[in-house]
């Protein structure tokens, strides 16, 4: 049984925001709502800058599911955490509970009124007839029903973002890590893509601004 997860490789993410754009485009996410975003730490510090792509992580024991007062969340057979927007009251409890800031609320009214919660669906749609107009409008495209993986992971140019069954993608990541070069520097091209690549000129000392 598959348990769909995302895995973001901080060594590879180049902060291109391709995943964010792919998600926006594929699901026609409204203005002001970002189901996925790229978070960068130590921005500009050579050797210390790291980025990861963050969205709903489809937790096995999801806190959003635990705190929802109207119980709109459910987990599919593939381990994807989805919700029924028809029942959502927009209270925002899930936003406070989520450690990743995944739940998003469209600011629909003049007074900052919260709309119904929107979040990453792992491109699995929601509780409407599969591939229907209603499903697309409320939840976005159902790529799993088309036999595809989430658009963000499939679009990732450096394959920093992996999406799929937790066992499969963690095997991919594990194999990637064991191939990584640790001789030259503990970061950079060799670390991200393994030995065989020709590293460029030696970088300046770590800690300097680029």
């Amino acid at each position: 049984m598959a348990r769909m997860k995302f895995l973001s490789d901080a060594e590879r993410c180049i902060e291109c925001n391709g995943c964010v754009t792919a998600c926006k485009q594929e699901n026609e996410v409204p203005w002001g709502v970002n189901r996925r975003r790229v978070v960068t730490i130590n921005d500009g510090v050579i050797g210390a800058e790291k980025s990861i792509s963050v969205a709903c992580m489809h937790c096995s024991d999801a806190p959003c599911m635990a705190v929802c007062p109207v119980d709109v969340f459910y987990r599919t057979d593939d381990g994807v955490v989805l919700h029924d927007k028809d029942l959502c009251i927009g209270c925002g409890y899930c936003f406070y509970a989520c450690p990743f800031g995944a739940p998003q609320f469209p600011q629909a009214g003049a007074f900052g009124l919260r709309g119904k919660m929107d979040k990453c669906t792992f491109c699995a749609g929601g509780p409407e007839p599969d591939k229907s107009e209603a499903e697309f409008k409320k939840y976005g495209r159902n790529r799993l029903a088309e036999g595809k993986l989430p658009a963000c992971a499939e679009m990732c140019s450096t394959k920093a973002l992996l999406g799929g069954d937790g066992d499969v993608i963690s095997d991919i990541y594990r194999e990637r890590v064991t191939r990584r070069n640790k001789g030259f520097e503990a970061w950079g091209w060799g670390t991200a893509y393994g030995p065989g690549g020709k590293p460029g000129a030696a970088p300046a000392a770590a800690g300097k601004k680029s």
Partner: protein
């Protein structure tokens, strides 16, 4: 005669109108806390595959999982490069 008709009319009126004053029976289904209250969702493998795309047998979970696993392994570019 007129009095009898009035009494009958009053009785009929009472029979017809009085239920309107009664308490309506409320059959609210109690929500089970922690249980999903929304609509059911279909499984991905219950769909027909696209004409141009990955193939699986409709309704067969194993075949859907097999093809999606192949797609997941396509993300392993190290293997594609080194083999």
């Amino acid at each position: 005669m007129k009095r009898t008709a009035l009494i009958v009319a009053a009785l009929v009126g009472a029979v017809v109108l009085l239920p309107g004053c009664m308490e309506v029976e409320q059959t609210a289904t109690p929500s089970k806390q922690g249980k999903y209250q929304g609509k059911p969702d279909a499984t991905p493998w219950s769909n027909e595959p696209l004409a141009m795309g990955p193939k699986w047998s409709k309704g067969d979970r194993a075949s859907w999982e097999e093809q999606i696993k192949k797609r997941q392994l396509g993300q392993h570019e190290d293997r594609r490069i080194y083999q």
